[in-house]
């Protein structure tokens, strides 16, 4: 295969690396907002075109079919250096898109599960998903205005999280706050690696 590895001045080419981080949580919890707050690129989402008639089946009439739908897949990019990028993917929320999670989590560094204290139960499926697959995750409690403030310990207990899983209070509209959530995740993932 004609890889451009030996081109002068592109030493980074052979080692170029894009790392995935997932942002999960219930509808309206702030996933899109979080990706937008920290991303350096504007076109924030791409669409996955789906045919209801079977995922993973090569459906030659899929594009014509009535059942074609699209799922918006938010993503954002942070350039660490030339040839090293972090990609944040806001996971599509609906249950019928679990298969996309499987692909998104493959090889991912880890995940942030966003929680809203007014409806904590919305993030149970995401917590279960990452726990079952042993994917490192942290819980970010998005502190909406008007929501009661909870102690992280209370959230941890309510979600049945192990002692080791970091719980961070955050405001995903603020860059410093998003940075803190992400550094917490990466630090935690390093310790587990």
């Amino acid at each position: 295969m004609g890889y451009a590895v030996s081109e002068p001045g592109t030493a980074a080419v052979s080692s170029a690396l894009a790392i995935k981080i997932l942002i999960a949580g219930g509808f309206g919890v702030g996933k899109t907002t979080m990706v937008g707050t920290i991303s350096e690129i504007r076109p924030l989402h791409t669409e996955e075109l789906l045919s209801d008639r079977g995922i993973g089946v090569d459906d030659t009439s899929g594009v014509e079919s009535k059942t074609t739908t699209t799922v918006a897949l938010d993503f954002g990019r942070i350039t660490i250096r030339d040839g090293l990028w972090l990609y944040l993917f806001g996971t599509p929320g609906q249950d019928r898109f679990w298969f996309m999670w499987d692909e998104l989590t493959l090889g991912a560094l880890g995940a942030v599960v966003l929680a809203d204290t007014r409806r904590l139960q919305d993030c149970f499926p995401a917590v279960d998903y990452f726990e079952q697959r042993g994917i490192p995750f942290v819980v970010g409690v998005n502190c909406f205005d008007g929501a009661r403030r909870y102690e992280p310990a209370k959230v941890r207990r309510a979600l049945g999280l192990g002692e080791h899983i970091p719980v961070v209070m955050c405001d995903v509209r603020r860059r410093v706050s998003v940075k803190e959530v992400l550094t917490t995740l990466v630090t935690y993932a390093v310790e587990r690696a």
Partner: protein, 116 residues
């Protein structure tokens, strides 16, 4: 057809021949795509295919290619699969995270995030 706006769907159909999945070995959403330097560019490429070859002279992750083309990911992947089959691009092969992200990379990512 959906009866709403057949235009874009017809265009997508033209790009992929109606195929839903790319040719050959599966590749990740963030696999790095690199234009081959040694292959002559055929004259009859579609604009989207040409755009990929131009963009990926700098190694570019699949998701970014989709965003640049403003096309759905799986359509983008079909295009990439075809270009790979024709030897015009290389696509990074899947690697387990444990193998890819070593301590040095973690360190770099952490430092990078902190200095944002």
């Amino acid at each position: 057809m959906t009866g709403e706006d057949p235009g874009p769907l017809v265009r997508l159909f033209g790009l992929t021949g109606g195929r839903a999945r790319p040719q050959g070995e599966a590749f990740d959403l963030v696999a790095i795509v690199t234009t081959a330097h040694d292959a002559p560019e055929p004259g009859d490429l579609m604009p989207e295919h040409r755009a990929v070859l131009s963009l990926c002279r700098r190694p570019t992750p699949v998701a970014d290619v989709a965003a640049h083309l403003r096309l759905p990911l799986n359509i983008t992947r079909v295009i990439l699969g075809d270009l790979r089959r024709d030897g015009l691009i290389g696509i990074e092969r899947p690697r387990p995270a444990a193998q890819t992200i070593d301590q040095r990379i973690y360190r770099e990512v952490l430092d990078g995030l902190r200095s944002l």
